[in-house]
């Protein structure tokens, strides 16, 4: 019998397994697909503190940011502390950005104001005519699939069982005592629901309502693009200040604000469309066109670069845009770690750290009540 079964081998499940195993627990991870085959595998690898308003998610992302820097020593997942450059199109937007950055600073988010004339020192190929921006040195990037795989690899003694579908939960009265799978039962002292976009379905196996829904995003990938002398064409994570309002938006329709970034493998990633269309994978040309327009508006030099592929994924979002992290009082033994929307890569280590603390009874790093699972109950 395992101390804990983690359902989901994405980056959040991997981080839960990593910190639980490091805390001395015996861990089994199950996933109906392969490692990182859900939303993690469609992610860009954003580790952002710049895009969060002060509040519980910002606290979570700051803890995560510190933890990612420690985890980077494990190696093998392309951690890049490259920093993020947020640009403002107009003086009004720059004022709003400056005000936000000032508030963030009070919570430990460092930034450097960047005047219009200084933008090209950060990004030589950036468009002209922008009002200015802010540079956030803590923003970073990982290759998310490798990050999940490496966390699992370095989780001492963790057993990873892929291709195993959870079909039910083992119960002893109200208590959850393991999972039922298509490959037999796995008894455990605790079950962690890290099923991401499908987290609501796992909760439903316990008869619980967890309102996690998919929010589709497309990412464009260009041909490998080095600038002159092998310097990357795009050096940081670059996005417009409009991104912050898009992330928080409740619109079911399309909202998009391109985040442009280079990768160690060479291609440039252009991401961040947001739509609520269920799990529909049908290509949406207007979405791809919007992303392309925004990327070219930021970096005119990209107009001549070819997009060689595109892919989509589904962010797991909750109505209040906060993740679900913690023990579920309605089903003792069941813990949730899902619903991170588009920030799952960035928030994974802090989530895993919190869950491991709850499992072992350690003092929490900070107050996690805003993320409590039962907050949606009517």
């Amino acid at each position: 019998m395992a101390d804990v079964v983690v359902v989901g081998a994405g980056v959040v499940g991997a981080a839960c397994a990593y910190y639980a195993a490091r805390a001395g627990l015996s861990v089994t991870v199950v996933d109906r697909g392969a490692v990182a085959s859900g939303t993690t595998g469609a992610g860009e690898g954003n580790i952002l503190v710049s895009d969060k308003e002060p509040g519980p998610e910002l606290e979570l992302s700051l803890l995560s940011n510190r933890l990612w820097r420690e985890l980077a020593d494990l190696g093998g997942f392309e951690f890049e502390a490259k920093g993020g450059l947020v640009v403002a199109e107009t003086p009004e937007i720059l004022d709003a950005l400056t005000a936000l950055a000032g508030k963030q600073e009070l919570h430990g988010v460092r930034h450097t104001p960047v005047a219009a004339g200084e933008l090209h020192g950060y990004e030589p190929h950036l468009a002209h005519g922008l009002a200015g921006g802010a540079f956030y040195p803590q923003d970073a990037q990982v290759q998310p699939m490798l990050a999940a795989a490496r966390l699992l690899q370095h989780a001492p003694g963790a057993v990873v069982r892929t291709g195993v579908t959870v079909t039910g939960l083992l119960r002893d009265g109200d208590r959850v005592t393991g999972v039922r799978t298509d490959h037999g039962d796995i008894a455990a002292g605790a079950v962690v629901n890290a099923a991401g976009t499908w987290g609501g379905e796992v909760a439903a196996l316990a008869g619980l309502d967890l309102p996690i829904l998919p929010r589709r995003g497309f990412v464009l990938v260009t041909e490998p693009a080095a600038g002159r002398l092998g310097v990357p064409l795009v050096r940081h994570k670059v996005y417009t200040a409009a991104y912050v309002t898009d992330v928080a938006s409740d619109s079911a329709g399309l909202s998009a604000s391109a985040v442009v970034e280079g990768t160690p493998a060479g291609p440039i990633l252009i991401g961040a469309s947001r739509e609520r269309v269920g799990h529909d994978r049908t290509t949406s040309i207007p979405v791809l066109e919007t992303l392309a327009r925004q990327a070219v508006a930021l970096f005119p030099v990209l107009a001549a670069r070819r997009v060689i592929r595109a892919y989509c994924g589904f962010r797991p979002y909750c109505p209040d845009h906060l993740p679900v992290i913690g023990a579920d009082p309605r089903a003792p033994g069941l813990y949730h770690a899902c619903g991170h929307e588009g920030a799952g890569i960035g928030l994974a280590p802090a989530t895993g750290h919190l869950i491991a603390g709850l499992l072992t009874g350690a003092a929490p790093a900070f107050d996690a009540t805003p993320f409590r699972p039962e907050r949606f109950a009517a």
Binding site: V35, E223, P224, T283, A292, L302, A303, R305, V307
Partner: protein, 484 residues
């Protein structure tokens, strides 16, 4: 769904090979307004690939089986009134609503070579006749200059009248190797051997039941014998060697599961190698058409009128399952008549075409059974053998990804990058799937062809002064790899 105001055609056909041409002829004759697009510079697709007129080929059909059929079909197409647009690479298809809120299909193309521009064809119906692409298997040295896909060598010969080398080895599996070898020999190359990984006569029972195919097979056998070309079954090229270019290959005897046995080397300066073909179906999967596995890989499911599961979208030829030019032409004809009938026109009748389709489909199935790819090829790989040439992923990295928990093709791709490059896994997709122990999944390619961000943005991009940048590791696509 977005709205489009342009006047739509009745039918857009993507692919001007035997299926697309036959469908366009039938549909246009019945009175439909047809637009036929193809990425090539000339009609005919891969099968009827031929040299441009400037080449002054004395007998342009000499390299072709059934070239007269092609010239007849080209003339019929010309007379039918169908609009032909060549040099159009389709990068996406999309459902849109038209002026009367009716459902239309937008076919997004890139027109032109260096100075490409976006062009959209609007139509009430879509026929996907995009053919197939080569299915190569990786082996040590397959990335050397001088190594071609069988389709690539054939395309060079047919399209450019270029013989791939002076001394050529042909290897792989399936009857397609024979016309490739015969064509090369006739064009003056010394063909040092044809190495069929399966048995040579696996198809014999099916051929006997199909007199036309018997005559065809006998013709190739005679031509190979006339040129004294050895044709060996249960043999494969398991490695290619050379410094800067190919100098020799290792040929091995194969066991039943293709485990290599006794080896010898053969000197050559070109190798044409092909392990069958994969249906080219990403435009269908962009629209959500149902697919089925088995055979030569995922194919589009169609009914007796070549209708897919998505209303208004039809498929004919190799996308419905690899079956060759003759079957493609029959399916194209069926599709053209069904399209006309579905749009309220009298398409006339073609008695017997359903029966011919059934017979040719049965023959294709027998061929797939007789010339399977066995997993023993994985024993040919060395740690440094490239599996994905676009992203330069060696076999060692695939093994490392498997150790990291990649248990299926998609996670292999995510952890080791095979298929993430320029060709989006067209070259390595089959191999990667089998290395993961599964059959290939339907392709997911929301963008089917590389497209400049400026074009995707819908605005003309700045001139490309340096010419198209050559990304590192871009494989040299032989012409047969033309991913329409």
């Amino acid at each position: 769904m977005r709205h489009h105001d342009g006047p739509p055609a009745d039918l857009a056909v993507v692919g001007a090979g035997p299926a697309g041409m036959a469908a366009a002829v039938e549909a246009a004759r019945a009175g439909l307004a047809v637009v036929l697009v193809d990425s090539g510079a000339r009609l005919g697709g891969q099968y009827y690939r031929h040299a441009p007129e400037g080449f002054h080929a004395r007998r342009p059909g000499a390299l072709h089986h059934g070239f007269r059929r092609f010239t007849r079909m080209a003339a019929a197409l010309d007379a039918s009134g169908a609009e032909v647009r060549l040099g159009r690479r389709v990068w996406a298809v999309e459902k849109v609503t038209g002026p009367g809120e009716d459902d239309l299909v937008a076919v997004h193309c890139l027109a032109g070579e260096r100075d490409e521009r976006r062009e959209t064809v609007l139509a009430r119906r879509l026929l996907i006749a995009t053919g197939a692409h080569d299915r190569p298997l990786p082996f040590p040295g397959w990335d050397l200059p001088g190594v071609f896909t069988a389709g690539g060598a054939q395309a060079l010969l047919k399209g450019d009248l270029v013989v791939a080398g002076r001394t050529v080895v042909v290897a792989g599996t399936g009857p397609f190797l024979l016309p490739v070898a015969a064509g090369l020999a006739a064009a003056g190359a010394r063909v040092a051997g044809v190495f069929e990984a399966n048995g040579r006569f696996g198809l014999a029972p099916a051929v006997l039941a199909h007199p036309g195919k018997l005559v065809e097979a006998a013709g190739y056998a005679r031509r190979l014998a006339a040129h004294r070309v050895p044709y060996l079954g249960r043999h494969a090229v398991v490695a290619a060697h050379g410094g800067d270019e190919l100098t020799h290959v290792t040929v091995a005897r194969l066991g039943r599961d293709w485990t290599p046995g006794a080896r010898r080397t053969i000197e050559c300066d070109a190798l044409a190698v092909g392990y069958g073909f994969v249906p080219q179906i990403e435009l269908a999967t962009q629209l959500g058409c149902a697919t089925r596995g088995g055979g030569d890989g995922p194919a589009v499911v169609v009914d007796e009128g070549m209708r897919t599961s998505v209303p208004g979208v039809y498929a004919a030829g190799e996308p419905t399952g690899v079956g060759g030019a003759e079957l493609a032409e029959v399916e194209g004809g069926i599709a053209g008549r069904a399209l006309a009938a579905d749009l309220g026109r009298d398409a006339g009748r073609a008695p017997g075409s359903a029966r011919r389709r059934a017979a040719l489909t049965a023959f294709a199935a027998a061929m797939t059974r007789a010339y399977p790819v066995r997993d023993g090829w994985q024993g040919w790989l060395l740690d440094d053998t490239l599996i994905c040439r676009c992203e330069e992923v060696p076999y060692a990295r695939i093994k490392e990804a498997r150790a990291l928990g990649a248990t299926d093709a998609r996670s292999l791709k995510l952890l080791a990058r095979p298929g993430m490059g320029w060709c989006q896994g067209r070259m390595c997709g089959y191999a990667v799937a089998r290395l993961a122990g599964e059959d290939p999944a339907p392709p997911r390619r929301p963008i089917a062809q590389p497209v400049r961000l400026g074009d995707l943005a819908g605005e003309p991009g700045p001139p490309d002064f340096a010419g198209p940048p050559e990304p590192a590791g871009r494989p040299d696509f032989a012409a047969g790899e033309d991913p329409r």
